[in-house]
């Protein structure tokens, strides 16, 4: 029985590792300037974690194979080096791994969160609400008009609660259901929730950030490939959570200019 357990464990380990080694289950191609840091960190961690996983399961299997069929009364032996060897080994190996992952991981994190956006980054406001995203662009005045929560009204399509009658800063704001951005241009994303917790997740951009009601947050990123990508909500927000999505449309600068002009004319 012990040997069957050992063989099963080996087979499970191989079956678990093959999909990873086959590189079938990987994130989609990165389209951001910072994403390579995350991908490298993930690959390094996968190698280290993979070695630990396979080694631990294989050694467990080998020992079960070796020591499950001994005769009663066979002399008990100790693992060479005893507990102290294992403790020192764990401290040194795992400690080094922890320090390395912590250090290099911090660099990737810092690249995303500790660098300010450039002064000419394109500001785009995204508002999350049950169960849709809306995006807002500054008009020619270069200002976002203030949000008046009491004026938010889905039926009149005033999704942001803008005072279109009396507030000049709001009048030229462009509100869209799709997020259009120019390629290779830094975007400063201003995140606002009108109701509950939501999240902004674009797999290809390697960005995921929660919206916090009452606390407007900022992100910044640069998309490097033209294309259409899904923005999905990853923070449970109610019955329509599964269907809360929008599209990120990364365009060439001329295409973007034409698109934003068209959107402005539709306001």
């Amino acid at each position: 029985m012990g040997k069957i357990v050992a063989v099963t464990l080996v087979l499970i380990t191989i079956a678990s590792a093959v999909p990873i080694l086959a590189h079938k289950w990987v994130p989609p191609d990165d389209i951001s300037t910072h994403g390579y840091l995350i991908d490298e960190q993930m690959s390094d961690t996968m190698v280290e974690a993979g070695i630990c996983f396979v080694a631990a399961q294989m050694i467990l299997a080998a020992f079960i194979w070796m020591f499950s069929n001994r005769k009663p009364g066979d002399k008990i032996r100790n693992f060479p080096g005893g507990a102290m060897g294992l403790v020192i080994g764990a401290f040194v190996l795992v400690g080094l791994e922890v320090l390395a992952l912590g250090f290099f991981g911090s660099k990737a994190w810092a690249a995303i969160y500790f660098t300010p956006p450039s002064a000419d980054a394109l500001p785009v406001q995204v508002q999350a609400g049950q169960f849709a995203f809306y995006f807002r662009y500054q008009g020619p005045d270069g200002k976002f008009g203030p949000i008046h929560p009491d004026k938010i009204n889905e039926s009149t399509q005033n999704f942001y609660g803008l005072d279109m009658d009396d507030d000049p800063a709001s009048k030229d704001d462009i509100v869209t259901a799709e997020m259009g951005i120019p390629v290779n241009k830094e975007v400063r994303l201003l995140m606002h929730s009108k109701d509950l917790g939501h999240s902004f997740y674009v797999r290809e951009l390697r960005i995921q950030q929660d919206f916090v009601p009452g606390l407007d947050l900022q992100m910044h990123f640069t998309a490097t490939k033209v294309g259409r990508y899904e923005i999905v909500c990853t923070q449970l927000c109610g019955l329509g959570h599964y269907n809360m999505k929008a599209y990120l449309n990364v365009m060439s600068q001329p295409d973007y200019d034409a698109w934003i002009k068209q959107q402005a004319s539709m306001q």
């Binding site: 289950w25 990987v26 995921q208 009601p213």
Partner: protein
């Protein structure tokens, strides 16, 4: 002598059925009650997970009978998106609180901690009875959510505010969410009473000669867990009270101003912080992971030693590692909140202890595996599940390497990778600990042996089945499959459906295998072979008494302990072991010093 008699009289079995079996102060009855409640909760939780999995992959298949049970949530047997989330919330809550916390800690701990330290009962038997019945009330309040208004809450077991604080935020968020918060608050009271009892009993009621280091590892695990629980539930309780106040008394602890829900401006709240709930919840939530896993680790260590027929390479190192894990568990809660909007610098601060916690966890694993080397491993249903526990603990623990790093969490947070990780390390591993404990201790608890052949079949189905369910979750997470979706409408998710179908079939199969366990448990309880006092040739005090133990555990005698807990691999009059209360003189096996 007179003192002993008075004590025995005080602990004489009560006359009536109700005082003996229902409102009993006997820790063994209470332990079995916790176990039974956990069994009921795990069956419910498992059925809910089946419903979710079936809905995900066959959304148009009507589930017979469900329409009658929940006409609003599943009209005609078809699960609505909101009902999916309600089932998910109840699955998570039942499993985390009423199974993973109840069984390995409160269930086995209640039954065996006093016996393993040589005590007649818990320090506060009436508090003990109260802790179970309070927990039972909490369970009933939670289950009541199925039958009120628009059903249970849909905010998940983490109940993030403001979704959980605003009754207008969705179906189930009115009465269902209030019942949820009340249920968890009540549950906390039960756990606080239980933790206090465990700590006091361990410190005050040990038999003569039972020094702290002579306590079995399982007792140490329950003791450390009760220390963790005392601090963790003491934070969750007020958090739930604040949530209830936000919901029913118009306070604004977790709700900021100017929210617009369903086109309605929320005017009665202002100034609250949704992040405050997350901090309070995860300050409890992460230690809760160890509240689930440490008792299982202790139980498994106890069983492995008996199965290896040797002590672990180091008794002390295992205990110190469990203490280190318990201590560190309070410094890592922010790793659940890397992308929550808290200061990004905090993420780095929380990441470090999260990575450091892998050191004691690795040492524990290496000691379990290293002690297997050179042992005389006995394969039983209990030892199979204990070995399976190691495998699951390794697999689930290693995926934690990814999630501990904020930069990788940016991609994986909110995906099935997280679901795979915590199910493996906290769910399945702890449940393997429960199965191991059941096969090992059922003879002592019920006086009957369980069927070993059925136990082994149960192991094979469960071991292979759980890998088939939870490894693919990791792969789905790697390609960015978002969790908590009741349907996959995103373009990139459609090609992943075959994997989801595979998982659902594996889940149905693994669930069906559990029927073998249930049959074995119930059949053996009544018709199983009578259990001898010490069927596994083990050393600790629970095996010195009859199976099942008498009312006051040691028949009015006070056991005296002469040895460290795990004296195996020696030559004694009883074989290759000597029991803790045997006065026989032997050369003590302590750590690895006496072995070649």
């Amino acid at each position: 002598m007179a003192e002993v008699s008075a004590h025995a009289a005080h602990h004489a079995p009560p006359p009536g059925f109700i005082r003996k079996n229902v409102f009993s102060v006997d820790h063994k009855v209470i332990g079995k009650q916790y176990y039974g409640l956990g069994l009921l909760a795990v069956i419910m939780g498992m059925v809910l997970s089946w419903l979710m999995r079936i809905h995900l992959v066959w959304p148009n298949v009507a589930i017979p009978g469900l329409g009658a049970l929940s006409p609003n949530g599943a009209p005609g047997g078809l699960i609505t998106p909101e009902y999916y989330l309600q089932l998910m919330t109840m699955h998570g809550t039942l499993m985390v609180f009423f199974v993973l916390t109840n069984v390995p800690f409160a269930g086995f701990g209640n039954f065996f901690l006093p016996i393993q330290i040589g005590a007649e009962d818990m320090a506060f038997p009436r508090f003990n009875m109260m802790s179970f019945w309070v927990t039972f009330v909490g369970f009933c309040v939670l289950v009541a959510a199925f039958f009120v208004g628009d059903g249970p809450p849909l905010s998940g077991w983490t109940a993030y505010a403001p979704l959980s604080a605003l009754p207008g935020a969705g179906p189930g968020q009115v009465m269902g969410q209030t019942l949820w918060a009340c249920s968890i608050a009540i549950f906390c009271i039960g756990q606080l009473l239980g933790s206090l009892n465990f700590i006091t009993t361990t410190l005050d009621l040990r038999a003569k000669g039972m020094t702290l280091m002579r306590m079995p590892i399982s007792t140490w695990a329950w003791f450390i867990t009760s220390c963790i629980g005392l601090l963790a539930f003491a934070v969750l309780l007020p958090a739930c009270v604040l949530l209830i106040l936000d919901r029913v008394a118009g306070t604004s602890f977790f709700v900021p101003s100017n929210l617009v829900v369903s086109d309605q401006l929320i005017t009665q709240h202002s100034g609250g912080s949704p992040l405050l709930w997350q901090h309070l919840f995860w300050f409890f939530g992460h230690p809760e992971v160890y509240i689930a896993i440490l008792p299982a680790a202790g139980i498994v260590s106890h069983i492995l030693i008996t199965s290896y027929r040797r002590s672990l390479l180091s008794h002390k190192v295992v205990i110190y590692c469990m203490m280190a894990i318990g201590f560190l568990s309070y410094m890592v809660w922010g790793h659940h909140m890397f992308i929550s909007g808290m200061n990004p610098f905090s993420a780095l601060v929380f990441s470090f202890p999260t990575l450091v916690i892998t050191i004691p966890a690795t040492i524990l694993t290496l000691i379990w595996i290293g002690s297997l080397y050179g042992s005389n491993l006995q394969i039983t249903s209990a030892s199979l599940f204990a070995l399976g526990f190691i495998s699951m603990f390794v697999t689930g623990g290693i995926s934690g390497f990814f999630l501990a790093q904020p930069s990788i969490d940016v991609y994986l947070h909110g995906t099935y990778f997280v679901v795979g990780h915590f199910h493996m390390v906290m769910g399945v591993a702890a449940i393997f600990g429960m199965f191991a404990g059941t096969y090992f201790w059922a003879p002592k608890m019920f006086g009957r042996m369980m069927n070993e052949t059925l136990g082994k079949i149960h192991f094979w189905g469960t071991f292979v089945g759980t890998y088939c369910i939870f490894m693919p979750f990791h792969y789905l997470g790697l390609v960015g499959n978002v969790r908590r979706y009741s349907a996959f409408v995103d373009d990139y998710l459609a090609p992943l459906m075959p994997v989801h179908k595979f998982i659902t079939i594996a889940a149905l199969f693994t669930g069906a295998v559990q029927l073998i366990f249930l049959y074995n448990l119930i059949y053996s309880r009544f018709k199983g072979e009578a259990a001898p006092d010490n069927p596994w040739k083990a050393t600790s005090l629970e095996w010195t008494v009859t199976s099942p133990p008498p009312w006051n555990n040691f028949g009015g005698k006070h056991p005296v302990v002469y040895h460290d807990p795990y004296q195996y691999g020696i030559e004694s009059s009883s074989g290759d072991f000597v029991m803790q209360d045997s006065p026989e003189r032997i050369q003590t096996v302590r750590d690895d010093k006496k072995l070649p």
